[in-house]
């Protein structure tokens, strides 16, 4: 379980990215965060794995305080939390398999990992992660030779290879076209349901949020302004979150939505 306890993040320079946030995310939930650029979505996600630790209050993940954790405890905590990025963050000059094996570094000794001698069991886990997102045939291809959607699936496989209990996705489809976005979101939904991994996703397209979010929270200027089931979030709710009227730019569009919805 993830628990925010009056958590605030103030960046050097005085920007208040998160303000006094209290929030509980139960195990196995698929939660979507919506809000305008700069509302604090990325900061909220990074507070969970301590990439941006709270400056006040605390975030407790599976009983461990992110703020008080030692460097080593933080690494152990992070190993249980997979992360997916808007720009995929793959090492493009190396193979897909090497990228996915980065998810196994946390259980690999220093000497072994420096030499690239991964245990066969870890290679097997990486291969299975690639199979789960249906891209195992590219295992030995260079990451730079893959399309955006394929790269993001490798990003998901890298996170899955950690065998995490939590998955964080920071704008996972913002660099992708609409059909590919749905493929990626359905992958995340399937992983959430089949493996019971708690999934926290930042999205800025409202229709995607409504379609895939079991629960939606809204952030505005670092503050929690909405918290409710995805199904109940209507136009008024989003208008409140955004603090302005909605436009066509706020939705991805119906044409690419899958026929089988929730």
């Amino acid at each position: 379980m993830i628990r925010f306890e009056n958590a605030s993040v103030t960046y050097r320079g005085g920007v208040h990215a998160l303000k006094d946030l209290t929030l509980e995310i139960p195990d196995g939930q698929m939660m979507v965060i919506v809000g305008l650029s700069g509302a604090g979505k990325s900061t909220l996600i990074r507070a969970i794995n301590g990439l941006v630790p709270p400056t006040e209050g605390d975030v407790i993940v599976d009983g461990i305080s992110v703020r008080k954790a030692s460097a080593k405890q933080l690494r152990v905590l992070r190993s249980r939390i997979g992360m997916i990025f808007q720009t995929f963050n793959l090492v493009k000059r190396t193979s897909v398999l090497n990228n996915v094996l980065m998810g196994r570094l946390h259980t690999t000794g220093t000497v072994r990992s420096l030499l690239g001698w991964y245990k066969p069991a870890d290679v097997e886990i990486a291969m299975q992660a690639l199979e789960r997102v249906d891209i195992v045939e590219k295992a030995y291809a260079r990451a730079s030779n893959l399309s955006g959607g394929q790269q993001q699936r490798v990003g998901i496989a890298r996170a899955l290879a950690q065998e995490p209990s939590i998955l964080l996705a920071d704008e996972p489809v913002a660099s992708l076209d609409p059909p590919t976005s749905h493929v990626i979101m359905r992958d995340l939904q399937r992983i959430n349901r089949e493996l019971g991994i708690t999934t926290v996703v930042n999205l800025h397209f409202l229709d995607l949020a409504k379609l895939y979010g079991e629960r939606i929270i809204g952030l505005r200027a670092g503050e929690l302004v909405y918290d409710g089931p995805g199904a109940q979030a209507d136009e008024h709710v989003f208008r409140d979150i955004y603090g302005r009227s909605l436009s066509a730019a706020d939705v991805m569009g119906e044409d690419a939505a899958p026929a089988v919805a929730l």
Partner: protein
């Protein structure tokens, strides 16, 4: 899109000022200052009146000798040339090997803390400020004439060059994969190995091959101070004005450098 109230917004002023004029003025002044001496600039013109006749007298003869390599001299060059090659191989492997970790400590992206970063950068600039020639002089004094002082001098030179170039390459790396590695719970060394090294490996290979080439060339100078290699022979033949023999060595060095360049191109094409 929403319309902008009040019509067209005012255009912002161009930030900063162009550096062309001040830098240009500075360069002009420095050039003028440098030219006001007897040896350079204006003095050079007056010296031409004496230099040109000397060149016309000796030049064609020297040039002709250089263009007629004395291939009979070739067997004598084999042993010192191999010595130069061995010196360069050993110095490049050790120097570039040491330079890689040193480079990671000298980049803000990969250094564990600011103190180590600053210390490493400081030491590197001192190492680089001392010319290889001077290292060779010191080591010849310390351990005597032979290839050993030459190798030691080249190692220090290589560390200075490769670590600087490589650390600047690391500075420019894509930090996305580093964030991904950190987020997965990977340690610092693991992150460098798998998120940074694959990005900078082609540059490292290119820099290493380039220093190997520099080492082959440096041997000509190192030989003069007694630090082994082909330089000793080259210097001797020069002192006796055996230009046809000098020419053989120059052709060999050219072939060496050319082959290294070819290998470098092939390796880089496969790695990039």
């Amino acid at each position: 899109m929403t319309g902008h109230a009040g019509g067209v917004a005012a255009r912002p002023p161009k930030p900063g000022r162009s550096l062309v004029l001040p830098v240009g003025t500075f360069l002009f002044l420095v050039l003028t200052w440098a030219s006001i001496s007897e040896e350079f600039g204006i003095g050079l013109v007056s010296r031409l009146s004496t230099s040109v006749p000397i060149f016309l007298a000796r030049g064609p003869e020297t040039l002709a000798a250089l263009l007629r390599p004395n291939w009979g001299f070739l067997p004598q060059t084999v042993e010192p040339m191999l010595e130069t090659f061995r010196m360069a191989v050993i110095a490049s492997v050790i120097g570039c090997g040491v330079a890689l970790p040193v480079a990671f400590l000298a980049s803000r992206v990969t250094a564990p803390n600011l103190a180590i970063f600053l210390a490493d950068r400081g030491i590197l600039s001192v190492v680089r400020a001392i010319p290889d020639f001077l290292y060779a002089l010191v080591f010849v004094f310390a351990v005597g004439i032979g290839p050993l002082p030459g190798i030691a001098a080249l190692i220090l030179f290589n560390i200075g060059v490769v670590a600087k170039l490589q650390s600047e390459t690391v500075d420019g790396v894509d930090v996305g994969p580093i964030e991904a590695a950190r987020a997965s719970g990977a340690g610092r060394l693991q992150t460098i190995r798998w998120a940074v090294l694959p990005q900078v490996l082609p540059h490292y290979v290119a820099y290493s091959l380039y220093t190997f080439e520099l080492n082959i060339r440096a041997s000509t100078v190192l030989g003069i101070v007694g630090a082994g290699g082909i330089g000793r022979l080259l210097f001797r033949e020069y002192k006796f004005f055996n230009w046809s023999n000098v020419s053989v060595i120059v052709v060999e060095l050219f072939l060496f450098v050319f082959v290294i360049e070819l290998v470098s191109i092939i390796l880089r094409r496969r790695l990039v």
